[in-house]
Symmetry: C2
């Protein structure tokens, strides 16, 4: 374990998220250096994927404080050189020995890779922020949306799980409302982009557009086994034969309750639409007590990570193109539900970038919060190890047939 973590990462009291950590952290690196703190060593596991690339962009854009950076990928990409922030890096093959001296490991290489290598990273002393679904529902692994439950980060035992993209996008605005008036039930329908299923899926959709324009009789349909251009279909994750819900829907159902740390009845219908990037969701809420429109609007206007786009006169509401490449979740169509009189119901329509806030940004925010916690603790002179209990958290070598490097996991 590096001196950074030895000095500072702690298992301690809950700590509400720091707004500067959420919004940009431009001065975190400078502040850490000024305070004499050692900067963390960071590894990106799965750097060649869409989320891995987004990690690189975000670390630079948000001036994330790090001393050294390790870029890990599969053997196929190992040896490739990339220039990043003025320095040349060589991509290394991820092995169990990759994590020596790593303090924070951002994982987005698919569930089976996470199951294989996250334990080694934790053994080596790193804190893993894992974007896969491998550990999310495991007891003892915090499942964190920094706008919702940043305090859960301190309870980690080596691994912190990043929620499913659709779950993150829904939870941010719904939590803001729920804090004020309890939400009793959520009905959500999604409109999910091709890139959630990985770069290949997005390229196939683009290729189908070309095939269609060229008038080809049959378009290429290797990934989803169906025509995607001018079509839409139920989410491609496996469907539970018993409940009829697909995995994506069950993630939204189960993860929301874990993140909110209370039972929230959720039902979801997840649909893949011919959009390249950014997901949308129609969200219908039932409240325990009346929540009037003006109050809902004011709460959402002040919610971190939320931008309101709600112009009834000009019919301007959230759209995926508007949200692509953006940090915030766009929220609009805010209106009392006509089917639930008395202010007990509210409708929302949201758009958010599932690669950014739905994956990479959320993970980087978690990492920022880890650094923030360390700084807070250093200021208070606290120094406790992070290893306690970590061995019990995961089972090793578990293999899965889940497709790798898709960001929607």
């Amino acid at each position: 374990m590096s001196s950074f973590l030895k000095m500072s990462l702690v298992l301690r009291r809950a700590n509400r998220v720091n707004q500067s950590a959420m919004r940009g952290l431009c001065s975190q690196a400078q502040e850490l250096e000024r305070s004499g703190m050692v900067l963390p060593n960071v590894a990106i596991a799965g750097v060649t994927g869409a989320v891995g690339q987004e990690f690189l962009e975000l670390l630079e854009a948000r001036k994330f404080p790090f001393a050294n950076l390790k870029l890990l990928a599969s053997a196929r990409s190992a040896g490739k050189k990339i220039t990043y922030m003025g320095k040349e890096y060589t991509i290394e093959e991820m092995t169990e020995d990759s994590f020596e001296n790593v303090d924070i490991a951002l994982f987005s290489a698919g569930g089976s890779q996470s199951k294989k290598y996250a334990p080694a990273a934790v053994d080596a002393g790193a804190v893993v922020v894992d974007n896969s679904s491998a550990f999310r529902m495991q007891p003892g692994v915090p499942l964190v949306v920094p706008e919702v439950n940043p305090e859960a980060i301190r309870a980690h035992r080596g691994i912190i799980a990043n929620p499913n993209c659709s779950t993150i996008l829904m939870n941010v605005p719904v939590w803001a409302l729920h804090k004020e008036v309890p939400v009793k039930r959520i009905v959500v329908s999604t409109y999910q982009a091709s890139s959630g299923a990985g770069a290949e899926a997005m390229r196939e959709l683009e290729q189908q557009a070309r095939d269609w324009v060229e008038g080809k009789e049959e378009v290429k349909q290797d990934i989803f086994g169906r025509q995607y251009i001018w079509n839409l279909f139920s989410h491609n994750s496996a469907v539970c034969l018993e409940t009829g819900y697909n995995e994506e829907e069950l993630k939204m159902v189960k993860e929301t309750t874990k993140i909110f740390d209370e039972q929230i009845p959720v039902t979801a219908t997840c649909i893949r639409v011919p959009v390249l990037r950014a997901h949308c969701e129609a969200i219908n809420l039932t409240f325990a007590e009346p929540m009037d429109e003006a109050r809902a609007r004011s709460i959402l206007e002040n919610a971190p990570g939320v931008s309101i786009v709600d112009d009834r006169e000009n019919n301007q509401f959230p759209e995926p193109l508007m949200a692509s490449g953006k940090d915030d979740i766009f929220v609009g169509r805010i209106r009392p539900d006509l089917s639930q009189p008395g202010g007990y119901g509210l409708e929302l329509f949201i758009a958010g970038d599932q690669i950014r806030k739905g994956a990479a940004l959320n993970a980087v925010q978690i990492a920022e919060q880890l650094v923030q916690n360390a700084r807070d603790d250093a200021t208070e002179g606290v120094s406790v190890g992070i290893k306690q209990g970590s061995e019990a958290v995961f089972s090793r070598g578990f293999s899965t047939s889940a497709p790798e490097e898709k960001n929607e996991d």
Copy 2:
């Protein structure tokens, strides 16, 4: 008024829809001729539009019984000749004098044309089946989905309204369930095709695909004022500034209650997706009493106008491409709602052709039921005029700025 209507169309007792009338009516013409009944004269108002063209296809395919056919359109198309069922027709300009000797007028020329010419058609003795929203919510005008409320047809006073496309598609499966166990609340999110906004809208979406493939910096966006390819957006109908619902959503809310003839709380979010034809809907139901999955499935399997596509193992569910050009509404993702335990909730996902069952087919089914009613009455020797009260039903010359010839009205 022609001898057909004089002889037979009546304002009389309710009459449940005849299944043969719903399913194909292959022998209606022959039966009418055999019975010595005079065949009706039919006019199509707006024959050059997408729904008008679909009327022609359906009258032929379903062997709709008619003596003469009149094809009406705007002055722009008048004089054009078309060959239909082996006979040459000349398109005539629609005027107030167009409806002499017409028994049944199928209108789909937009709301303002309906308001202008439907009264003249009724004055001339025709029964108007109107696909626009002009008269739908007017008291005294039956709003009919033949699978739901065919008996309402008999109460007409010259005009029968065809509901909004999204409403029709939702009402058919939901009504089948509601008849068995009352539905207390509906939450619906739509995925609507470009062609619902008219042929021009569909062509613009196709053009945007070409522009995108050619790498053009900016795609043509005259109709919706935004990029549509790789995007989606809140339905383009005007948004009510007070409620925040757009017109399409309010149609689903209000029309369902009129068609079901009882108060059904509905909330809707209507979204335009980059699909050329056929709408989808995610429908969440709350029942007054438990409705288990097996029962729901059995009801839907036996519901007229419904095809089940619900293969969990192979992830095969309703898709717009599957529904395009088809009569039936495809229903799948049938599953108990996890957020409403005890069997009180059910999820459905449907796909239906909004030009066919959502517009033309529903209107032709209404016309078939009119003929069926006339035949039933002739058999019983009843002969009553249809004119009673018709003058009071509509106000003339009302103009609207609604775009014409879109099928989604």
